[in-house]
């Protein structure tokens, strides 16, 4: 293992500090009693930590409801997105379906500014009665995460040699069987990675949730809006809720760390 020069250690150390300080301060704020907020010098380690902000955030501000809604919507959308995305990606990878144009169309969905799209969707949902429903949100989030799922699985499938599937076809398997029995099991790691990415994208999405949900299906990020009221921001509660929503994100993020490279580089890595 190489020994790093001092300069580099310093740089990495500073950067780690940069990453950790905001997270630490947010955590501390969530367990500080309100009287400590205005203290000068600022209090970095509270003497009497309290959980009152957590209970306020989860119950009085209905953060728990938001959490449950986010879980329901994100898990469902992730499942659908992983499923349909895998199917589509296999089709692209093996058969080059639709050539460049279909692939381009699917990928470009990712880059549409939500603000351009949300308005017509809001109005259409209203007509179809999908506003503030789980079904409406799940559909929206599935479409929202499809491009990345497709793209990740596309890269993954291209990395799996065709030989085994072709052997199966020669043996008389149908295309569907060769997909199901051979390609799919090999793709599981990639599907898991794609699913984790999709889940995190749904879990952290704010804009669509802001517009398309209301009192029944509001998601966790939208609860933060309640903390912006004119009566002074409730910093303790906001921090508590933030810490709560960080937990799945960080756990899943660490799990996917290995796949991160592959997923983000989308098959452009050689070797």
């Amino acid at each position: 293992m190489a020994r790093l020069p001092i300069g580099r250690i310093l740089f990495i150390g500073l950067y780690l500090l940069f990453v950790l300080v905001p997270l630490y301060w947010m955590f501390i704020t969530s367990i500080k009693p309100s009287d400590d907020y205005l203290a000068v010098p600022p209090i970095w380690v509270p003497k009497q930590p309290t959980l009152v902000h957590y209970s306020a955030a989860l119950f009085a501000y209905r953060g728990l409801q938001g959490l449950i809604n986010s879980l329901i919507i994100s898990l469902s959308a992730t499942a659908l997105s992983a499923l349909f995305g895998t199917l589509m990606a296999y089709s692209f990878a093996r058969f080059n379906t639709g050539g460049k144009h279909l692939a381009f169309w699917v990928l470009s969905q990712r880059f549409l500014p939500p603000v351009a799209v949300v308005l017509p969707i809001f109005l259409i949902y209203r007509i179809l009665g999908l506003h503030d429903t789980y079904f409406g949100m799940i559909i929206a989030y599935t479409v929202f995460t499809l491009p990345v799922s497709v793209w990740m699985m596309f890269a993954y499938f291209r990395g799996i040699p065709k030989s085994m599937e072709e052997a199966a076809l020669v043996d008389g398997c149908s295309r569907w069987m060769s997909f199901r029995k051979i390609a799919l099991p090999l793709a599981i790691p990639g599907i898991v990675a794609a699913a984790i990415f999709a889940f995190i994208a749904c879990w952290t999405e704010f804009f669509f949730a802001l517009i398309l949900t209301s009192r029944y299906t509001f998601t966790l990020p939208t609860v933060f809006r309640a903390f912006l009221g004119f009566q002074g921001a409730q910093y303790g509660e906001a921090s508590a809720l933030a810490i709560v929503s960080l937990v799945p994100s960080i756990i899943l993020g660490t799990l996917v760390q290995k796949h991160l490279v592959r997923g983000l580089t989308l098959g452009a890595v050689r070797g």
Partner: protein, 552 residues
């Protein structure tokens, strides 16, 4: 009986038993109740005697000790609701609402302190009286406008009762978000209620000849100042020496900035001359600007409905506000109303002008309830004087209770509104320590019960009444929300360093766009109507129109 009723019943029973054990004349009630419990006597709402019902209510809701003024007001409210007078609005509302028992009403409220009233008092009491449940939806102030509009566009029926700024009435009425109340009023209301309003507030819910809500919160700005500082001999001498004038509570905005700066110079960092709530979205900037602008004789529009903001009056207003900012507590530009209250209560500020709860908090009355635990204790209770804001005070927002047009429970919703704003019930609500609802009825201002809440309560009420006599209204016209947003944005950009003249011109241009969008001619017509209201301008106040209310 379902579980909840059973619990309430037993709680009430316990109260009855205690009373009986003390030998009080409730034996009859006790036996009756016992009989009911064993099923011998039918439990119908109207059979349970009023006092028993009240006992039930007291057990379920945390009512105040009946020997206190608040307790008396609450008892009077309960009595009016359950016994009558039979033609009183409270009684009629409760009777008519019982058929809707089991329904849930969704009501929007400003998040935080405002929402404590329906959560802790009016909601649970209403449920006790009628069996109608209430669900409070807490929203930030700007969201109290945009959320109902969004829900209306989505046709969701999410809300039944809306708390709205009276100035939003034209937009919301034209947009179909709220429903007119005239039919319900004819059916259920004792119209004497409508005469019990202070003249400044009476016409607020009317628009295009119909009534669109019940006014419910007298948000008149008043000036609260530290008597001890103003009467301190050393300060008085120093001021006299410096300015060749006596140190007094300021009557003009120039004086205000001068006095504030003087106090800051003398006493910082322990005490600063003033503080304001300047944070964007915390509704403060637009009201403050508009009150001072009109005090300086500014006019909103000329005869062609062109905005008249970028005028010498506008510049003068912004310059005064900047001078006041300079003299204020550090962080002034990021404060919202609650943070400012915290600073004021801890004695850090010598003058503030803000909403009426200031007085109750200063006297330490509000903090007497554990529900309001995020307001600090008052350190200045006996050191405060009340005055009228320099020039004319703004009636800043206020609240109407309005009926959501998409509600699935229109009658039940309306009846709650009627009950909550009826004179006896509204008195008990504005007297709640944690209430942010402020007195608005003549019966409130004249109430002896209210005047006995804290030592200076009578003066406080008188000052609110006198402020309302010279108060100014927000512009009650379509598009008010857009006009207000332009002012708020203009102010925050000036606090951040933009040149006042440029900012005024930008705001005026935005006002013109809004006016054009809505139609210059129709806006002109609305503006003419608005100008007839008492409080539309400094020379058209309640007092100038000869309608001033004199309290003793």
């Amino acid at each position: 009986m379902n579980d909840r009723q059973k619990r309430d019943f037993e709680a009430g029973l316990k109260a009855e038993v205690d009373a009986w054990l003390r030998g009080e004349p409730t034996r009859r009630d006790f036996i009756k109740k016992f009989g009911q419990m064993t099923g011998m006597i039918a439990v119908a709402g109207s059979i349970i005697p009023a006092t028993a019902q009240w006992a039930l209510a007291q057990a379920a809701v945390d009512l105040a000790d009946p020997s206190t003024p608040l307790g008396k007001a609450q008892a009077a409210a309960m009595k009016a609701s359950t016994e009558g007078p039979a033609d009183g609005s409270a009684y009629r509302a409760v009777q008519a609402a019982k058929q809707y028992s089991g329904v849930t009403l969704n009501m929007t409220y400003e998040a935080g302190l405002q929402a404590l009233d329906p959560r802790n008092y009016s909601g649970p009491v209403w449920e006790q009286l009628t069996g109608i449940k209430t669900n409070v939806v807490e929203l930030s102030h700007p969201d109290q406008y945009s959320k109902p509009v969004a829900e209306h566009i989505a046709a969701s029926g999410a809300y039944d009762i809306l708390d709205i700024e009276p100035a939003w009435t034209p937009s919301l009425a034209d947009g179909g978000v709220i429903a007119p109340l005239d039919d319900y009023i004819a059916k259920y209301l004792n119209t004497a209620d409508l005469e019990d309003y202070h003249p400044l507030y009476k016409a607020l819910p009317t628009y295009k000849g119909k009534v669109w809500g019940f006014f419910d919160d007298g948000d008149i700005f008043a000036l609260y100042y530290r008597k001890d500082i103003f009467e301190d001999p050393k300060m008085k001498d120093a001021y006299q020496a410096k300015f060749n004038k006596a140190l007094e509570v300021p009557k003009t905005w120039e004086d205000y900035a001068q006095v504030a700066q003087f106090i800051t110079d003398q006493m910082a960092p322990n005490v600063y001359g003033a503080g304001h709530f300047r944070k964007a979205g915390s509704p403060g900037n637009q009201y403050d600007f508009l009150q001072q602008f009109r005090a300086n004789n500014g006019k909103f529009f000329d005869e062609n409905m062109k905005a008249q903001l970028a005028t010498p009056e506008g510049i003068k207003t912004l310059e005064n506000m900047l001078a006041a900012n300079k003299a204020s507590i550090p962080g002034n530009n990021e404060l919202d109303a609650v943070s400012l209250w915290a600073a004021w209560l801890q004695g850090k500020v010598a003058m503030i002008y803000s909403w009426p709860p200031t007085g109750r908090m200063t006297a330490g009355y509000s903090q007497s309830d554990k529900a309001i635990n995020f307001i600090p204790q008052s350190t200045i209770a006996d050191k405060v004087g009340y005055a009228i804001v320099p020039g004319n005070p703004e009636h800043a927002t206020g609240y109407n209770k309005a009926l959501a047009a998409d509600s699935a429970n229109l009658d039940a919703a309306y009846l709650f509104m009627q009950w909550a704003v009826s004179p006896p019930v509204s008195l008990s609500r504005v007297m709640l320590p944690y209430a942010l609802r402020d007195p608005y009825r003549l019966s409130h201002f004249k109430s002896d019960l209210y005047a006995s809440l804290f030592p200076t309560a009578k003066d406080y009420l008188r000052n609110l009444n006198n402020s309302a006599n010279v108060g100014l209204l927000d512009m009650i016209m379509p598009g008010w929300q857009d006009y207000a947003l332009s002012i708020d944005r203009m102010c925050t950009s000036v606090w951040a360093g933009t040149d006042p003249k440029a900012a005024l011109e930008t705001a005026a241009a935005e006002w013109d766009v809004t006016t054009d969008r809505l139609g210059v001619d129709s806006q002109k017509a609305f503006f003419e109507e608005y100008k007839k209201l008492p409080g539309s301008s400094a020379d058209h106040t309640v007092e100038k129109m000869g309608l001033a209310v004199k309290l003793d």
